[in-house]
């Protein structure tokens, strides 16, 4: 009887010791592109004018994997840890949105962080960060770490002006990334 209890406990121990791959990564850079969200999915655009109602910005984050254990990866159970999370994001424009939003004003509340599944998003506060996720991504099991953030313009400016959006990211390790889009006319 004791033998069987021992075998049972040993098996239980083996099962509980099963580990899954853990990944640690950090974001290494920032570049931004215009996004056209007029079709079913967002696409990077190089056009010099876009429909303001379907406008967005893609923030490319260039993740680098620092640590990766040898176990098998499980999309459900593996820990994917970002070592320099984004503590704040700051979106500004070279031109005014309206009388209350002159050039350089925080435009965060005009955008949402879009997770690429319809109607799944986070609002962006002027002093809050973004936690990029692959949770809703079609291929998050293959990609494992997020490499971009799509933000969508929800309250476009009423005037049809040319804007150059500047994005500043502050990260927990003290890094600050800044990049600007090319000039775009929003109509």
């Amino acid at each position: 009887m004791i033998k069987y209890i021992f075998i049972f406990l040993f098996t239980l121990g083996l099962i509980s010791c099963s580990k899954y791959k853990n990944i640690e990564y950090h974001f290494s850079n920032l570049t931004v592109n215009h996004l056209d969200n007029s079709a079913a999915e967002t696409t990077v655009s190089t056009a010099d004018s876009l429909n303001s109602k379907a406008y967005g910005i893609r923030l490319n984050l260039y993740p680098i994997i620092d640590k990766e254990t040898s176990e098998s990866f499980s999309a459900e159970k593996s820990q994917v840890i970002n070592t320099n999370t984004i503590t704040s994001i700051y979106i500004t424009s070279s031109d005014s949105f309206d009388v209350n939003l002159p050039p350089g004003a925080c435009l965060n509340k005009r955008f949402i962080y879009y997770k690429n599944v319809y109607n799944t998003f986070d609002t962006i506060g002027c002093s809050s960060g973004i936690r990029p996720t692959l949770y809703y991504s079609h291929n998050y099991e293959e990609k494992r770490v997020p490499d971009y953030i799509d933000i969508l313009l929800m309250n476009p400016p009423k005037n049809h002006k040319t804007h150059r959006f500047k994005i500043t990211l502050n990260l927990t390790d003290g890094t600050q990334f800044t990049d600007s889009t090319s000039s775009i006319k929003l109509y």
């Binding site: 969200n37 967005g56 999309a75 459900e76 599944v117 109607n119 991504s137 998050y140 099991e141």
Partner: protein, 277 residues
């Protein structure tokens, strides 16, 4: 419609006043039977209601894994040939999300759509695509010894609603040429069900072991039956857009009926006191 292999566990208790295997009559006899019933079920459904095309495809579409079973199935003989039958009857089935998705892709022209459980990796879906009905079964049965050790047990049962659930679906819409999006969640309220069941069991009893006072034996049986479950609900949908503005539609009454015929066999053991001791 789909064929389903079903396991039905019987917790089968008899307080019999006729000693089946010995043919003697003894009013003090207590017989207890336990067994397993392996049934092959064929379940189909029928939907009624003034549904629009969208809700029609959501609620009429039950294609996968319809299954029904009773556990435990308890039968108690109270009088010489009469008794009560009770237990819990369950029926469930899941919706065919592929058909629903195909419907949206082919008919929705105004918006781009995503069925919530179609695009998510890892099965993390906010959608419950299944029907579930739990009922309490209560009925009357007869206990008729026919030839030697063969007993026929017909029963008729009423199925009372304990808990019923219709599926919930979430369809996500995106407006072409715009960042505007909204979610439409179809859900059901006031879901209930009731039904009936007719069953016939033929059992062969064999005394095979035991002492002078307590006797045990084997049971081999045959089972056939029909169950009908009538469910009703009020279905509606709620729209929630990207600005968190919610709109709720008027409700529509839906009736969804499920029928199940089944056939199977029983293997079990029987214990009773020997009336001569």
């Amino acid at each position: 419609m789909r064929y389903i292999l079903l396991f039905l566990i019987i917790n089968y208790t008899l307080q019999a006043q006729t000693n089946v295997s010995d043919g003697d009559r003894d009013t003090s006899l207590l017989r207890i039977d336990f067994g397993l019933n392996f049934d092959y079920h064929y379940v189909w459904s029928n939907t009624k209601g003034q549904l629009g095309a969208t809700q029609d495809v959501l609620y009429k579409n039950v294609a996968h894994e319809l299954i029904s079973f009773t556990v435990p199935d308890v039968q108690i003989i109270l009088k010489d040939k009469l008794g009560i039958s009770t237990g819990f009857y369950f029926l469930s089935g899941s919706s065919d999300s592929k058909k629903i998705e195909e419907f949206y892709q082919s008919t929705e022209k105004t918006y781009y759509t995503q069925l919530a459980n179609a695009d998510y990796a890892g099965g993390r879906s906010p959608v419950r695509g299944d029907y579930n009905f739990s009922t309490f079964k209560l009925g009357a049965l007869g206990f008729f010894r026919t030839y030697r050790n063969l007993v026929l047990i017909p029963s008729i049962n009423y199925l009372m609603n304990i808990e019923s659930r219709y599926p919930e679906f979430e369809i996500r819409y995106k407006e072409p040429g715009s960042n505007y999006m909204f979610t439409r969640t179809f859900y059901a309220e006031h879901v209930s069900c009731k039904g009936g069941n007719a069953n016939l069991r033929a059992m062969l009893y064999f005394n095979s072991f035991g002492g002078k006072k307590n006797v045990g034996g084997a049971i081999i049986g045959f089972n056939i039956g029909y169950s009908y479950l009538k469910s009703s609900a009020e279905v509606r949908y709620k729209d929630k857009d990207i600005y968190n503005i919610e709109t709720i539609s008027p409700s529509t009454k839906v009736n969804k009926d499920f029928s199940s015929i089944y056939i199977g066999f029983i293997l079990g053991v029987t214990f009773h006191r020997n009336p001569s001791h």
